[in-house]
């Protein structure tokens, strides 16, 4: 019952938040009176040509009217046309979203796989040498600029040692597209060659992206475990002679994860921010590269569309986190 209420109230908030986001981003994108029509028309266009283009693109109307049109179009999934790819921005984004999501998921799996176990070990062996080393590593993981790490890893593993592909998502054609997730598609079509290629291409970008997230998860998990390890139920379970492994990896961990799960939204933010620059370094054909290209081209509408899409993804992730939370911590439903 209550779970549905939580979901509904979140969904209700989604709409005003999104509208707010559109308005904010729209005005940000238009604070400076640049003249996109002139840019598009090119250096040699005559004033009349520019004027015609301006009217055609709707840049001659008042800003609020442009906003109204934009929102109306957005409601039908139309984000306008990219100035440079000349394709609908929504299509561009939809085409690139799976690449970014695949990278982000791979990174989050690595981050969880590293962060949670190491966080538990760090807490259980509190103040030991292992703990000290892990803490130094996790602070370092949060201090490294991900684009720099990406470049250095790429230089070593690809350029120097030739162990991993230099950039991109796949060499060759890749698997037949079903979902747009190459790993998933190659499994679905049982295309082992593509699977190997896709995984190999994923490796460096995903690891780079995962490191700061892993550090964050490690720190949360460590703090969470320390918070519960002295609680009465651990004392009780220990006094009742349950195996230490069971107590730590099942009973303590689930409690500790509550605080970690509530932070997955934040971790996802860390990942997505990282993805923008990491993609740029590895030429990963996802949203990040698209955003960077749009920046270089001063393509306002494309950036606007990108920002809104990221906002939607972000809000949905937080919604999922909230729902997940009600499952992992039954007390929230009380």
């Amino acid at each position: 019952m209550r779970r549905i209420e939580i979901i509904l109230s979140r969904l209700l908030w989604l709409i005003p938040t999104l509208v707010g986001l559109v308005v904010v981003v729209f005005f940000i994108a238009n604070v400076v009176p640049t003249d996109p029509a002139r840019i598009i028309a090119g250096e040699n266009a005559t004033t009349e040509q520019v004027e015609a283009l301006r009217a055609e693109l709707g840049f001659d109307r008042p800003l609020w009217e442009q906003l109204g049109i934009y929102v109306r179009d957005l409601a039908t999934g139309n984000m306008g046309r990219s100035l440079y790819t000349q394709r609908p921005i929504a299509d561009d984004l939809a085409h690139r979203l799976p690449a970014t999501l695949e990278l982000t998921f791979a990174a989050i799996i690595i981050a969880i796989g590293l962060g949670i176990p190491l966080g538990v070990v760090s807490a259980v062996k509190r103040n030991s040498l292992t703990d000290q080393v892990l803490r130094v590593l996790s602070v370092s993981g949060l201090a490294i600029a991900s684009f720099w790490l990406a470049m250095e890893l790429q230089m070593l593993f690809s350029t120097r040692w030739g162990l991993t592909p230099l950039n991109g998502r796949i060499s060759g054609f890749g698997p037949d597209e079903i979902t747009g997730f190459f790993v998933l598609d190659s499994l679905l079509t049982w295309d082992m060659e593509s699977l190997g290629g896709a995984l190999l291409h994923l490796l460096l970008p995903a690891v780079t992206l995962a490191l700061p997230a892993a550090a964050t998860i490690l720190r949360f998990t460590r703090a969470g475990v320390l918070e519960v390890i002295n609680s009465n139920f651990v004392l009780y379970e220990t006094a009742m002679g349950l195996p230490r492994g069971l107590i730590i990896w099942k009973y303590v961990l689930r409690n500790a994860l509550i605080s970690t799960v509530t932070q997955i939204g934040l971790i996802f933010g860390v990942l997505f921010s990282g993805a923008v620059v990491v993609e740029a370094v590895f030429d990963w054909p996802g949203l990040g590269t698209y955003a960077v290209q749009s920046i270089l081209q001063s393509d306002n509408k494309a950036i606007l569309g990108f920002t809104i899409l990221v906002g939607v993804v972000f809000i949905v992730v937080n919604l999922i986190v909230d729902i997940l939370h009600t499952f992992i911590d039954p007390r929230t439903l009380k």
């Binding site: 238009n30 720099w148 070593l156």
Partner: protein
Amino acid sequence: MTGLKRLLADRAAAIGAGLIAALVLVAILAPVLAPFPGDVSEFHLTERLLPPDATHLFGTDRMGSDLFSRILFGARITIAIAVIAVGVSVAIGVPIGLVAGYYGGWSGGLLMRASDIFLAVPQIVLAIAIAQTLGPSVENVILALSATYWPFWARLVYAETRAMKGQVFIEAAQALGASDFRVMVLHILPNIASAIIVRTSIGMGATILTAAALGFLGLGAPPPTPEWGRTISEAREFLPEAWWYAAAPGFAIFLVVMGFNLLGDGLRDILDPKIRRGAK
């Protein structure tokens, strides 16, 4: 002063404070310390991409400028961006959070919903959008970071203020007739200051990373500004041969961010045992 003592007793925090002190010193003394102070704008095409040696500690860049000197001057930009951007964010976010938390109600809720809008997108994404529109310059980077970072403080202060409001001493002050402004500034603010300070330290680190990323993407100061993020992106096409070119600014960023994070962790342990959670 026992606070300072305890801070320095914490090894990690002491290292952090040391790194930040070094950064500040380097930034101030850059013209004195730099062996080639002119190299911020001068170039020597005959000395392009020299590996590190006794003359050029960190080697030279694509223009033949001394990287060590440029890194030292880059510290100034880094500090300026971090201090101003975080300062402005605090100056905007704290009052908003304080007022929204203190008065609550639907107007407070609305303020928080407004900050939610900004938090609905990762900071760097909005900052990219803003910096892109305004054009590449240090000022615009600062503006973009401030405009996107204040909601973090608003959120934090809002939550802390709400928690404070129920406290007996706050109610006592209100009962004694203290004005709302007085209660907020003299009674609530000092009590949530430690949380703000901790966040500020960690926020500086995060801001430096975001600023560097903007620089890397070409949204920061235009060349020949010795901004660290931009330097790394310049170095890209000369890898792997000129490994030092990217290594020096990368390590500089790492050390400085590490300094703020370590200091933040230490401050958290000392000032606010309640917030033990460890994120950025």
